[in-house]
Amino acid sequence: MVTQGTLHMTEQKRRRLVAFNLRDAGTLFGLLAISGLFAVLAPDFLTLHNLINILQQSSINACVAIGMTLVIIGGGIDLSVGASAALSAVLTAMMMAAGVPLGLALLAGLGIGLACGYINGALISYAGLQPFIVTLGTLSLYRALALIVTGGNPILNLPGNFSNIFNASIGILPVPVVIVIVLSAIVWLVLRKAPIGEYILAAGGNEEAARVAGVPIARTKITTYMASGALAFIAGIILVGRLGAAEPVLGNLWELNAIAASAIGGASLMGGKGSIIGTLLGALVLGAMSNGLILMNVQAFYQLLATGIIIIAAMLVDRFTRGRA
């Protein structure tokens, strides 16, 4: 009897694992299909150098998109990620240029990113405003602050050791890629294993029921926006490190690419559903496509066209495969 029960449970565990991976497998299949296509069309596509290049190019969007996925699962949206990244990165760069020690400046920048997220979350949770409108407002606000503090000019004379970090590699992987892998693993673990992960899924899936069940709704939502703000800062600082300069206009339209990666990866804008692995794969789909088209010397206009087609195709596949599993 007991062994039967245990067998039954492991069987269910396996089923759950399979079910969990089915959507991600779909995204992976999409990524492989696109890669296969470019491998044929663009001879240089399938080289180790280029594949690492794709990881490198996708890392910034992936970083922003992980945070975006958390917010979306929690039933919200964060349009201010690009502006949060710009504000926090620019202020960090100004501190570094003024001689503040590297670690301290980065820590302060992280604090600014968290604060940007906290303001979003607090306006949504305590004042009861709609996430779309709040973050649309703070998008302008944070961007304006970044432009005001810099007077619109890039911050240039950054310490050399700072840029060296982000242009270095660990083994064959560039540092930004390693950072994103580590961050993703942490977020994935939190979402699956920590109470806050269950709270985010619950609050996004049915906020009213979650409240009755005792889920701390405000704290949960604010946490997602703060995570989004922090990850936006890290993405911003990776870009500044790569370029060696902090532009106050950096991060323009990042929110759209991040939402696209989340959606391709299976996040539902209705909340309550999403996958970190899916989002990473989604970012790689977008990265691989842009890389492949560049290799083929296709005009940028067509890259935009392809992005649009991929998003809609992913949603259609989603729509028509639901309920079959």
């Binding site: 920590a194 619950a202 029921a209 069940a213």
Partner: protein
């Protein structure tokens, strides 16, 4: 009263429908005469809604035929059914809240001039004339959103009449009506029948069915168990037909120990709850009866920390406590099974396990990580003792039946160790077999020392489950009845006195 003419108005013959390997209906035949009110009975999943969907053209049957006044219906579509004079009043009314009554009545098939210009005045006049036959108090120019559910239902019926429906099917029309409104609907149904309309009436409430209907057809597991004349059949016989077995109605022993766990004094909130005082004992099941809007749900919300009382005090085990939120209430051992399961109860996308665990995650975590092995074992033990079916903790909760969803929410509170359970309409939308399961669970919880408050709009349920009944009316607690004083008549007396005065207020 008996009304079975030679040629039925509606004849459904040998209707069958399968979904994959599952036979939702097989060999069901149904005759309804002109002027007959015919009840369609059965537990959830018995095939009632599939039959209604086939009748109204939403679903095509796999086998069988439908005749209206002897003429066979060719091709199954909504438009075809409508043309043959079949109208359906859905449980969830399908109306546009921001349009007027008259606009809603002509929705989808407006009168026009020259085919393109809306003929507003004639539409309004026709709507007003039809409405006047049913209820003169409804203004054809009022927005639907300003009407009560009962009035919106009458608008739907008027819409059916406007298009000369000869067969009207009503799916649980009284599920959210007050007693006076139910009577009014009954009068309208009688009026419709007297003009020759055939009415199919789906309801779980057997007393209404017996008052409004002539005959009843009982479905079970997709088959017709039988068609009976209601005048010759007892309620027990009907239930036995629906469930397929006798349901025992033994009187249970009261498990109350007399130890006061909850003592409420002068609790008030926004005129919805007025100076309510009562006590609750360990092991006791306290029923709270009352009409809709009497303040019962609001009282439970105050006790569960969803709202903050404006006056009065709550004492738990002799200590005055302030509940500043749900989490406070949970900390003091109070849990709520909310009235609207889908909206406030379950997390539909999450598994049964996640749903049961959500309140207790903190207690099952070490260093910020959930100890999933222990959590899973404890939840499984609770699911087993509650007889959850199917016993699959990883299945999304939305795929469980209503009764099992309730068990999952109850498991959530048991896991978190609450001592006081507030159950708001625990068997709403749950079929009869599952209701008995829930009653059994409530009893067992009381016997194991939980104190339980049950709010229910069904008096037989209140009488069956409660050790004591408190009655609320217009925010006040008007009576507390011990078991020997409990009866439907006494409860109604305290629940409904002076309703006329209050309704106009």
């Amino acid at each position: 009263m008996s009304n079975t003419p030679d040629k039925p108005r509606l004849a459904m013959r040998d209707i069958g429908k399968t979904y994959g390997a599952f036979a939702a209906l097989s060999g069901v035949s149904l005759n309804v005469g002109a002027g007959e009110v015919h009840a369609l009975l059965g537990e959830n999943g018995a095939g009632k809604s599939t039959l209604l969907k086939i009748l109204s053209g939403i679903v095509a049957p796999a086998t069988g035929s439908i005749e209206v006044d002897g003429r066979p219906l060719h091709g199954h579509s909504l438009a075809n059914a409508r043309r043959s004079g079949i109208a359906m009043i859905h449980q969830e009314l399908q109306q546009v809240p921001e349009l007027t009554v008259a606009q809603n009545m002509f929705l989808g098939r407006p009168l026009t001039r020259a085919g393109i210009i809306l003929a507003r005045a004639p539409m309004r006049a026709a709507a007003a004339a039809t409405l006047a036959k049913l209820d003169k108090s409804i203004d054809p120019d009022a927005k639907i959103s300003t009407l009560r559910v009962a009035q919106r239902q009458i608008v739907e019926i008027a819409r059916a009449l406007l298009f000369e429906a000869r067969i009207i099917a009503m799916d649980e029309p009284t599920s959210s009506l007050m007693p006076a409104e139910v009577e009014k609907l009954g009068a309208i149904i009688r009026q419709l029948a007297s003009t020759g309309t055939a009415i199919i009436y789906v309801s779980h409430k057997l007393d209404e069915v017996r008052r409004f209907c002539h005959r009843a057809s009982v479905l079970r597991d997709g088959r017709l168990v039988g068609t009976i004349a209601l005048a010759d059949t007892t309620e027990e016989q009907i239930v036995t037909m629906m469930v397929g077995r006798d349901l025992s109605h033994e009187v249970h022993p009261c498990a109350s120990t007399g130890e006061v766990v909850l003592d409420v004094r002068g609790l008030s909130w926004k005129d919805r709850v007025r100076e309510v005082s009562f006590t609750l004992h360990r092991g006791e099941i306290l029923g709270i009866a009352g009409l809709m809007g009497a303040g019962r749900t609001e009282l439970l919300h105050l006790l569960a920390g969803l709202e903050t009382p404006q006056a009065g005090e709550i004492r738990l085990g002799g200590q005055v406590v302030r509940l500043r939120g749900v989490r406070d209430a949970i900390r003091y051992g109070i849990g709520l099974l909310p009235e609207e399961r889908k909206k406030e109860g379950i997390l539909p996308l999450r598994s049964a396990l996640s749903n049961a665990a959500i309140t207790s995650l903190g207690a099952y975590s070490r260093q910020g990580m959930i100890r999933s092995g222990r959590l899973r074992a404890d939840v499984m033990e609770l699911f087993r003792s509650l007889h959850l079916r199917p016993l699959d903790p990883d299945k999304p909760v939305r795929l469980f039946s209503g009764g099992n969803q309730q068990k999952i929410v109850i498991a959530r509170w048991l896991l978190s160790g609450v001592k006081i359970l507030l159950l708001d309409e625990p068997t709403r939308g749950v079929d009869i077999g599952a209701k008995n399961e829930i009653y059994r669970v409530i009893r067992e919880l009381a016997a194991s020392g939980h104190a339980i408050i049950v709010v229910s709009s069904e008096l037989p349920e209140i009488l069956y489950i409660s050790d004591r009944v408190a009655v609320m009316r217009n925010g006040r607690m008007t009576a507390t009845l011990e078991r020997d004083a409990m009866s439907e008549e006494t409860i109604m007396q305290y629940a409904a006195r002076d309703t006329r005065v209050e309704e106009t207020a």
